[in-house]
Symmetry: C2
Subunit: 149 residues, 2 copies
DNA sequence: CAGTATCCAGCTAGATACTG
DNA sequence: CAGTATCTAGCTGGATACTG
């Protein structure tokens, strides 16, 4: 079938593609953190106090536990659909725990697991990088965008 | 206009949303690394020798310079459109340099800048995390997916 | 070889309404 | 309060064809 010539080529390269990805497991994680809501939720649960080092004597056992509505309020721009969907995915992956408290109006709390906290450390490192270098990136971008000069 | 009640509420929360993001610059970087091609290109240019520590005496000045077609071949699954588009975006952000050599069939090479290399260090750290913990994630996922038990 | 331009399918994610 | 379900618009990204 000469009709699938281009497609066959693609299929061939797909094999190399997979081989490359096989040695590059970042792809697996990529699918997880490439979702901006994942990172923002991680950010919210792992570092909900804004850059503020909490006084250790006030809340010594800061559980970093947040209710659904708290997360929704903090991240705000997220829709219910995306928030629930992302939280469930993270729960499924063992990055956070979901606790249902059968009160009259049901209460649900979320908390990062150790695994989730370790990933949060990664994303926080990236955020630190961003704080250090984002100016450079934006400067380059602006310089590259000069109309004509 | 009472017709925009819901929209108005959203607009309100958007403000909080932005405020949260304002203190969380990871959003800026997220838009950059949330693209899987970005990470794969970074991976290709920053670490094209597969985990293999190159002998320092063989290629002491390993320039990590790759031609367009080399990158295309390594990542393969990427389309020309996405590859070019992503490379240009990264060049615009100062993460890599694009060099055009006016040979008879034009030659174009790409190379990470120091800035790009530092971001690559971040993504490599994440890849290391993935290698260490992805099994846990997959185990949790499988356990969570048990049909009925 | 490297890139541009166009067309289009598929997924993402937002809005809305309803439930326990 | 916390979620589920549905509909849909918009963006992403892939295929294809053409250029210098």
């Amino acid at each position: 079938m000469a009709t699938t010539t281009k497609a066959a080529e693609r299929a061939q390269t797909q094999l190399e593609y997979n081989a490359f990805l096989a040695v590059c497991p970042s792809r697996q994680l990529l699918d997880r953190i490439s979702d901006k809501w994942v990172v923002l939720i991680l950010c919210a649960l792992g570092d909900n106090r804004t850059e503020e080092p909490a006084p250790p004597d006030q809340s010594p056992a800061s559980p970093r536990t947040m209710r659904y509505s708290e997360i929704a309020r903090l991240i705000a721009g997220v829709s219910q659909k995306m928030l629930t969907q992302t939280l469930r995915a993270l729960e499924r992956d063992g990055l956070l725990t979901r606790t249902v408290i059968p009160t009259v109006p049901v209460t649900v709390t979320y908390q990062l697991t150790d695994l989730g906290l370790s990933l949060h450390a990664m994303t926080r490192a990236i955020r630190d990088w961003a704080q250090d270098h984002m100016d450079d990136v934006l400067a380059h971008r602006a310089e590259h965008d000069v109309p004509a000069g």
